[in-house]
Assembly symmetry: C2
């Protein structure tokens, strides 16, 4: 089992989409800027998210990504799973054949742990996260930052730099 930035990035990016739902397609460049994730890396992650039908893409100018299902129907476990981070703590993928085909001493312990984690993560949807006040706080901070940057670059453009 592992949970690294890959899975965290995926969830963060999906949550960003959920937060900006209804504003048309969101470009990866926007997400990259707001969440501080490398654009090329986001592309790779979204390739997987798209293959798993979690997002739909629109190409061309003004294009980007949108959630492919209502945000209340997408849970965190799915997202992590889509980018190949498996939330299974067993060494045998629940088959029970760790020790040369037979069940090992601690198999049941890891099964129980896996169940715990999966139950927790699959019980949280993007809609739940959007409603949380800590998420709202961070999101509005990020929007403010982005607006600052856009104004700054407008000034540069207007002054011909």
């Amino acid at each position: 089992m592992r949970l690294t930035t890959k899975g965290r990035y995926a969830v963060t990016a999906m949550l960003d989409l959920a937060l900006h739902e209804g504003k048309g397609p969101i470009s990866l460049a926007d997400i990259s800027e707001r969440q501080g994730i490398s654009l090329s890396y986001l592309e790779q992650l979204f390739a997987k998210l798209r293959r798993n039908n979690l997002v739909a893409s629109v190409r061309g100018p003004g294009g980007g990504y949108q959630l492919n299902r209502p945000k209340a129907d997408i849970d965190v476990a799915e997202v992590i799973d889509a980018v190949n981070e498996n939330v299974d703590a067993t060494g045998c993928n629940r088959r029970g054949d760790c020790q040369s085909g037979e069940v090992c001493l601690t198999h049941h312990l890891w099964c129980d742990l896996s169940d715990q984690i999966h139950t927790f993560l699959s019980g949280i949807t993007l809609a739940d996260l959007v409603e949380r006040k800590d998420v709202k706080a961070v999101s509005s901070r990020q929007e403010a930052r982005q607006a600052e940057k856009m104004i700054a670059s407008d000034i540069r453009v207007a002054s011909g730099l």
Copy 2:
């Protein structure tokens, strides 16, 4: 966060010690044979377990390792921690500074998850595991296998091979 064979091996080996408590020091060769873990790799893991005062060693023939505390006082989280697998799911080590010094969108989610996992794992002691019937079943199978092997090697020795 990661949970790989390293942590699983450590817990399995510690449980093996707990199961054979009271029979004097247990050699790594025995554990290696019973649990199917490479001897040299066990040595590395036990170096860490010893540094964390979870086990005590006895050198020389007849030597081996013993639990350094009652098995009811050693929980699974400690063991995993001792071999450097950290059970923290955040990217910031709970500091909340993922996004250039500030808290990221999903920080609280990962904190909650980490708490879940830690609560679960630290609530299970080696004594609890020893009592489980699935553990008892696997353990007696392993003892039987080991006895078979010893008899087989005795025959080889007796017949001068």
